[in-house]
Symmetry: C2
Amino acid sequence: MTRPPIRIVLADDERMVRTALRAILSAEPDLEVVGEAATGAEAVSVVREARPDVALMDVRMPGTDGIRATEQILAVLPEPPRIVVVTTFENDSYVYDALRAGAAGFLLKRADADTLVRAVRLVAHSDTLLFPSAVRALAAEHARANPAPPAWVARLTGREGEVLRLMATGLTNAEIARSMGVGPATVKTHVASVLAKTGSRDRTQAVVRAYEAGFMNGR
Amino acid sequence: MTRPPIRIVLADDERMVRTALRAILSAEPDLEVVGEAATGAEAVSVVREARPDVALMDVRMPGTDGIRATEQILAVLPEPPRIVVVTTFENDSYVYDALRAGAAGFLLKRADADTLVRAVRLVAHSDTLLFPSAVRALAAEHARANPAPPAWVARLTGREGEVLRLMATGLTNAEIARSMGVGPATVKTHVASVLAKTGSRDRTQAVVRAYEAGFMNGR
DNA sequence: ATCCCGCTCCGCCGCACGGGGGAGGACCGC
DNA sequence: GCGGTCCTCCCCCGTGCGGCGGAGCGGGAT
């Protein structure tokens, strides 16, 4: 069962990293590096030209980063490569973005050569492997849970934001006033502004908007 | 580089499934089925005896299901096997539970033999593979985003639940009444019950509770 | 047959809330 | 200096909301 070699594109802004990766991967007979890129934009065009099976994509790159490049590749190409996103720290928020962008895999730079090779073979050969729709669903849920905040969030002034947060904990105007150390009339003014800017008629609607907008994420 | 064979335990309540899995896996020289179990409890004891490298765990089993068995195995054994959870439908809520329980992999029953074998080799050989802490973090976030609903959720009657959902979209009592096809007085009664059962004084507080309790997950 | 519960309504009352005004002071940029 | 924004606070008024008590009706349990 001899398969054609796995075609790989490397995208990393540091030449040394690319060289190291190429050395590791080229040592395997079934792997073949067919292109390199130093920027996100370059990665997109190189992938479009070389049509690899797998792309190793660094997150931090000048210009368009690896995440955006991943999005663009998956959006543009009809049969995109499996994209493995590479980063240094595992607890990066990049992880979520990478999965959401459609990355097939996620790899740490500190990974040893064996792990790297195995990961490449894995994503290349598997149509749907270990975490098929599961990860996708989790990432989608993450996206649903952390949507892009609406425009009105930015328009809220500092005080109005405070008031909205307190509103969204179920406090009355009087309680908010005490909590903020101002008069009730002031709170009423801020509440009115919040209602206007959020397009709500109720404080209840404003609270709903706050939650739906992810404004209350983090207490 | 000849390694010792990968020791595998199969846990599935259907004998035919176990037989089929054993047939597929035994055909590979580097795989060895060292035990079978038909229930979750049995799986725990068999794994404890046989000390396999990998356990294929069906979710639906009489008594303790695969998820609980996974939890117990990982909690009890010092060097637990890599557990691959097997189920029929990929959009099961089991997926989240499996990942949260600490399953190393997730496999669909419709997977072909090649995928199955590859998955087993994969989880067996990899200390930390493609989605190391990423999946764990996502699953943890899922757990945080979907906490166990408070007791009052169960106490709500059907109508009260409907009213709460409509409240939590920012509707007034009159609008809820129209939306439900009942009189405003009826809605007031239900609202009062909801406030009492949720321990809220406001409709606003009730809405907050609804969101915090994950009551509004899914629009 | 009885009780309990859920769903459906009614009236009355007090009040926090929201709308519509206005006003003064602090800060910033042109 | 002057306009703009933000924060602060005031009054009046209408009303949606929530608390209280009561009532009829149907179904399931005992």
